[in-house]
């Protein structure tokens, strides 16, 4: 396949796959699953080429694809990736085939529709990550709601309709405010530059008036965008849709929801809120810090007392995403890089946790902690993987989670040592709720008849888990693979925030690069 239009190919190949899955004749479910898996895998292979061809030294957008669409309204098809979206794209293209393989036998009803929904969802998510035109972004943003709604509502658990509608309405209300804000920006750009455009890079140039007092236009716009994103993250207290959605969603839905959909919110803050509304961002940092820290501690404490493993993992997401928010709003290189890395880390480790919980559910048809105990005895290999992922999730050095958490705390400590100290209590609590759960599920005597003689991992499941654990170890041991490509883009973003900010605010990442260069010269 050609190297040109790579971004477009990656974005729409899953949708093409969805169409093929819908149209191919035959009743064999495995043939359908294989077709879907083939398309998802091909997408991943393409995105690997994206990664290989990506110039890490360049902080701007690469692999740009543009096409005229509705030029008179400034609506264009415009996509590309930079260091911020690159790894989120790869995370998406990686997690979808992994999820399809993991949930191979999970869905037996309307398999064709399910696979099509999954692939359409992938295109929606990828589109949102690569869109450089706000109108296009909004379409993808809304479009991915529908397949996710269906995945929860059709293939979910007993309270699936309640969970699906809650998920849908919650997100929709947030998005509507964002739509208004987009239109306001669009008009503002016309006022200031005399041209109608939804082009993101040009909208970055708009100076949104700060206004008088507390709630000026810029702050209001920040809040309008921010609400849509905060619901997705989810930022405390907009999180209550998440446990319901996770508990009711089928395994595949939970994995994608946790691994990728939640990142839409944090990505949105980074891509839109920070560079579009720098003054409001700086002004609201204390509030965001406050909500993020509440989220970290509250999510961890509530996770600790859950009786349902899935709900526990869902609340742990609230805690982890609090770290991401905190890092991003530290507004320095370490914090934002850490937040960005933590998005990927959370995608891998929480995605893997939901996969593992799904595998246990397939065997035992329950997710209640009290129904388990001593599973290490009957499922030793699964338990081993569960432990690895658990330690990734609680930030054991040597695995991925530590790097992200450490960089976040490093960045946050620079701007607010007390915030870092409070957030770091989340690191203690994470060990408490995860290890306590592991203890009750996997250790102790295996005294329930149903828990004895369970079948350990199949080859397919083993392949899935090895695939997920590899990047978990890789990022932990060699995070440079990641940070070398994200660094320049993050620096450019911070520079944009800094230069646009009226308050004379500076993004301070410690000493400038001279110190580092001189130490390198000394090494030679």
């Amino acid at each position: 396949m050609p190297m040109e239009n790579l971004t477009t190919w990656i974005t729409f190949l899953p949708l093409l796959g969805a169409a093929v899955v819908v149209l191919i004749p035959g009743r064999s479910e495995n043939a359908l699953r294989l077709t879907a898996l083939a398309f998802a895998t091909a997408t991943f292979v393409l995105s690997a080429r994206l990664w290989a061809g990506f110039d890490g030294g360049d902080g701007g957008f690469q692999f740009l694809d543009e096409a005229r669409w509705i030029p008179q309204y400034g609506i264009a098809y415009s996509v590309g990736v930079d260091g911020i979206s690159l790894f989120l794209v790869i995370l998406t293209t990686f997690m979808v085939p992994v999820t399809l393989l993991a949930a191979w036998r999970d869905i037996t009803m309307h398999v064709r529709a399910f696979l099509a929904a999954m692939l359409a969802l992938e295109t929606g998510m990828l589109g949102a990550f690569v869109s450089l035109n706000v109108f296009l972004f909004y379409i993808f943003w809304e479009a991915m709601l529908v397949p996710m709604y269906l995945i929860i509502g059709v293939w979910g658990g007993p309270r699936r309709i309640y969970a699906a509608v809650k998920f849908f309405l919650y997100t929709l209300i947030g998005s509507l405010l964002m739509l208004l804000a987009i239109i306001y920006l669009y008009i503002l750009h016309h006022e200031q530059f005399g041209a109608w455009t939804f082009d993101l890079l040009r909208l970055y140039e708009v100076q949104v008036p700060l206004g008088e007092g507390w709630l000026g236009p810029q702050t209001l716009l920040f809040l309008a965008f921010g609400l849509a994103f905060a619901v997705k993250v989810p930022v405390w207290p907009f999180h209550t849709w998440l446990p319901d959605a996770h508990v009711e969603a089928p395994t595949a839905g939970s994995v994608i929801l946790a691994a990728i959909l939640l990142k839409m919110g944090t990505y949105g803050f980074l891509r839109f809120s920070l560079p579009l509304f720098p003054d409001a961002t700086v002004q609201l940092v204390p509030w965001v810090f406050c909500l993020a820290i509440i989220g970290i501690i509250y999510g961890a404490l509530v996770a600790m007392v859950q009786a349902d493993v899935k709900k526990l993992v869902a609340y742990s997401s609230v805690s982890h995403l609090g770290f991401v928010m905190l890092g991003m709003f530290a507004l320095n290189l370490q914090g934002v890089q850490g937040g960005l890395l933590q998005m990927v880390n959370h995608g891998l480790s929480t995605g893997a946790l939901f996969i593992l919980v799904g595998m246990i559910y397939e065997r035992r048809h329950t997710r209640m902690i009290a129904d388990f105990g001593g599973l290490s005895k009957s499922l030793p290999i699964l338990a081993a993987f569960f432990l690895v992922v658990t330690f990734s999730s609680i930030g054991l050095p040597g695995l991925n989670g530590f790097i992200g958490e450490f960089l976040v705390l490093l960045g946050v400590f620079k701007v607010s040592p007390w915030s870092a100290a409070l957030a770091a209590t989340g690191v203690i609590l994470a060990a408490v709720y995860m290890l306590w759960m592991v203890q009750r599920v996997f250790f102790g005597p295996c005294d329930r008849e149903e828990n004895k003689g369970l079948q350990d991992l199949s080859l397919r499941e083993l392949a899935v888990l090895i695939a997920v654990v590899l990047p978990i170890v890789w990022i932990g041991v060699h995070p440079g693979t990641f940070t070398s490509k994200t660094g320049p883009a993050v620096a450019q973003l911070l520079q944009r925030v800094e230069s646009k900010s009226a308050g004379g605010w500076r993004a301070d990442g410690g000493q400038p690069d001279e110190a580092r260069l001189s130490s390198r010269e000394a090494a030679r």
Binding site: I70, Y73, I139, V146, L150, G153, I161, A164, K166, F168, Y170, W196, P237, T240, W241, Y298, L301, V302, M304, V305, Q306, Q334, Q337, G338, G374, S376, K377, F391, L396, P397, G398, F402, F406, L407, L409, L410, F413, P417, A424, V427, I428, A431, V432, L435, W436, Q439, F442, F443, P445, P479, G480, S484, G487, G510, Q511, D513, A515, R516, A522, A523
Partner: protein, 680 residues
């Protein structure tokens, strides 16, 4: 790295046990079915390679002139973000050389011993995989060239400790003990992490952002006069020296890892692990990591006398507090566990008075004799078919002679009887404590008395008198096989001779050619100025080795002998008489003994004051009330239901759940938007 000689075989010292862990971890399950020999070979062989390479590397180090003794092996840049940089690089200087030899040497002996001790266990492969992984982590901890890499090893050994304490995971108490160890250590790591952050940003503000030990040593002087001001909730405004604050934060981590007050509670429970694990991880190596870290960071602590005072006080308090609990324990391993906590207290006491060499010296001799004591207790437990209660032992001397003799040597060593190893190191600590403060010496000396008492109580109850076990167990008692007693014998030799390399000149050290240990570590700890360390380095070789040292040594030997004599009176000579009389005559004595043997109810206090309130608060207040009732019930579903009631018709049509209607609504919205823009 700008200094040091590059030597790229250091990495293989670390890689060998990692490879062993991976091999046994991935293939061991399969090998286990065909017998344990291959697993043991991989497990012990990898550590043997590590030990052999360590000897070679330390040989290279010794060949260099003392001031140039620094070997470096740089692999790659691990984390880089802005000004922050952490390398994967390993350095060997005299301090890490001592640690390296202790870890790989004692580690190898315990690996070999384990092959006998764990024979027949279904998790044999898992055991060796974890134990090798532990060696890898411990070596990263000891050889890492920066604080963050040290932290990797620090948490890595914590992971292995968790896995090995809960090795027999089907027993809920053992699994729970593993979790407790990890969580309590996390509390310590919380402080440690904040210490790293504060140190980095302080150095960064001073123009030298670095976390490498060499870099910190070079630039930490810039922080000598810096202070931070902040306001605490109850205490009000505070101004602290930056170095003091960093030193205290790092010490919180050390207190967790090395089981000091108030974070010592995990270590006695950690005895749930297999006994060789207790010897290696919970006595000889991992738990000393906090002492090593503080010695490694001595250039910071030299600038933080306030932090050192706290460390000395906590060390002394832990030494005596844990010793008192050791007196009343009846589980052979629990006695040794509290003893370990107490001995670690001595090491911190030494650090706190600036006597880092003495701390490391005691760390080393303790690794020999405490490792030996645990392996000896393992031999006893093994011989008695799993029995751990010393009330049901006795008279084992005739049945297990090698175990008895080696155990006696270790007991004499820990009690501080010359010329056994513990005498030299403990005497040195007490000597420096005395120079700092008479009170610290008095506490240390009292703890030494208690140590001699409880250790000989343990010895007499276990090995002398008549056997109190039931007939079936008694018939079964046997000496352990060679694979187990040979390591005992080697450690006994080290416990006997190992202290002599630190023979003080005042006690005729000239006969053995001076204090070799001090000379070896001098490039690391020597030549600094100021504060506590000055007293140590200036006085170490000259003034302080006056007659007072001989007098102090005589007093501490007298104290130890008194402790032994008391134990002999109560538990051997007039066995059963004295305690019975005391117990009968005095209700008070019985009550006190119960409180002591119940460990002063500290665990219960933590449960009541910290664990339970947090759990109940999270469940009842945060989850059931705030989350379910307020946020979800009142703020989310409340308005939604109100709207639904008000506009039943529209909403119910929307809530049919048919996706098409949503899609339709969205399309209409988009069309309307475009129309609006087009018309405006």
């Amino acid at each position: 790295m700008e200094q040091g000689t590059s030597l790229d075989i250091i990495r293989w010292i670390i890689a060998a046990p990692l490879a062993g862990a991976a091999l046994n971890g991935l293939l061991g399950r399969r090998w286990n079915r065909r017998g344990e020999r291959l697993i043991a070979l991989v497990g012990c062989g990898s550590v043997a390679i590590s030990f052999a390479l360590s000897l070679a590397v330390v040989g290279r180090l010794l060949a260099l002139p003392p001031e140039a003794r620094l070997l470096v092996d740089h692999l790659y840049t691990w984390i880089e973000a802005g000004a922050f940089r952490a390398e994967v690089a390993f350095t060997l200087d005299p301090l890490s050389a001592v640690m390296l030899l202790v870890v790989t040497g004692v580690g190898l002996l315990i690996h070999i011993y384990s092959a006998g001790y764990m024979r027949g266990d279904g998790g044999f492969w898992r055991y060796f995989s974890y134990l090798n992984l532990f060696m890898f982590s411990m070596l990263v901890l000891v050889l890492g060239d920066n604080l963050l890499l040290l932290f990797v090893g620090w948490e890595g050994v914590g992971l292995c400790s968790y896995l090995l304490i809960g090795f027999w995971f089907e027993d809920p108490e053992k699994a729970s003990a593993g979790k407790k160890a990890f969580v309590v250590n996390r509390v310590g790591d919380f402080g440690f992490l904040l210490g790293i952050l504060l140190l980095f940003w302080s150095l960064s503000a001073a123009g030298h952002p670095t976390v490498s030990f060499a870099g910190i040593a070079e630039h930490v002087g810039l922080l000598a006069d810096s202070a931070v001001s902040f306001t605490l909730p109850i205490l009000g405004p505070q101004t602290w020296g930056v170095c003091t604050l960093i030193g205290l934060l790092l010490f919180v981590g050390a207190a967790g890892k090395s089981a000091q007050i108030p974070l010592y509670v995990w270590l006695p429970d950690a005895m749930a692990g297999p006994t060789p694990v207790s010897a290696l991880i919970h006595a000889a190596t991992m738990v000393t990591a906090g002492v090593y870290m503080i010695a490694r960071m001595h250039f910071l602590y030299d600038l933080a006398p306030g932090a050192l005072d706290v460390i000395a006080a906590i060390g002394a308090a832990t030494a005596i507090f844990a010793a008192s609990m050791g007196i009343a324990q009846t589980d052979i391993k629990k006695v040794l566990a509290y003893s370990t906590v107490s001995q670690l207290g001595y090491m911190f006491l030494a650090c706190g008075v600036g006597a880092y060499t003495a701390a490391i010296f005691h760390l080393m001799t303790h690794a020999f004799f405490k490792g030996l004591l645990f392996l000896g207790s393992g031999s006893v437990i093994h011989g008695m078919g799993g029995e751990q209660d010393i009330r049901r032992m006795g008279g084992l001397a005739k049945l297990m002679p090698i175990t008895t003799w080696t155990f006696l040597i270790a007991t004499l060593a820990i009690s501080g009887i010359p010329p056994f190893a513990g005498f030299f190191s403990k005497d040195e600590i007490l000597h420096f404590a005395y120079q700092q403060s008479g009170a610290l010496w008095a506490v240390g000396a009292t703890a030494a008395f208690m140590t001699a008492f409880y250790m000989f109580r343990l010895f007499f109850l276990t090995f002398t008198g008549s056997c109190r076990a039931d007939a079936k167990t008694k018939a079964h008692v046997h000496e352990s096989p060679a694979v187990m007693w040979v390591p005992l014998a080697i450690l006994a030799a080290l416990s006997f001779l190992g202290g002599m390399i630190g023979w003080p000149r005042a006690l005729g050290g000239a006969v053995v050619g001076g204090n070799h240990f001090h000379h070896f570590l001098e490039p690391v700890f020597g030549g600094q100025s100021g504060g506590h360390a000055g007293a140590y380095t200036a006085g170490a070789e000259a003034a302080s080795h006056g007659p007072s040292e001989i007098a102090l040594a005589a007093v501490s030997v007298g104290i130890a002998l008194a402790g032994i004599a008391l134990a002999w009176l109560i538990y051997s000579k007039a066995r059963g008489v004295l305690p019975m009389v005391l117990a009968m005559k005095s209700r008070l004595f019985a009550d006190v003994m119960r409180i002591v043997s119940d460990k002063y109810y500290v665990d219960e206090l933590y449960e009541l004051v910290i664990v339970r309130p947090i759990r109940v608060f999270s469940d009842v207040v945060l989850f059931r009330f705030v989350d379910v009732r307020v946020i979800d019930g009142l703020l989310v579903n409340g308005p939604a239901e109100t709207v639904a009631l008000l506009a039943r018709g529209v909403i119910s049509r929307l809530q049919t759940g048919v996706a098409q209607s949503y899609a339709l609504a969205m399309t209409i919205g988009v069309v309307a938007l475009i129309a609006y823009i087009a018309l405006s």
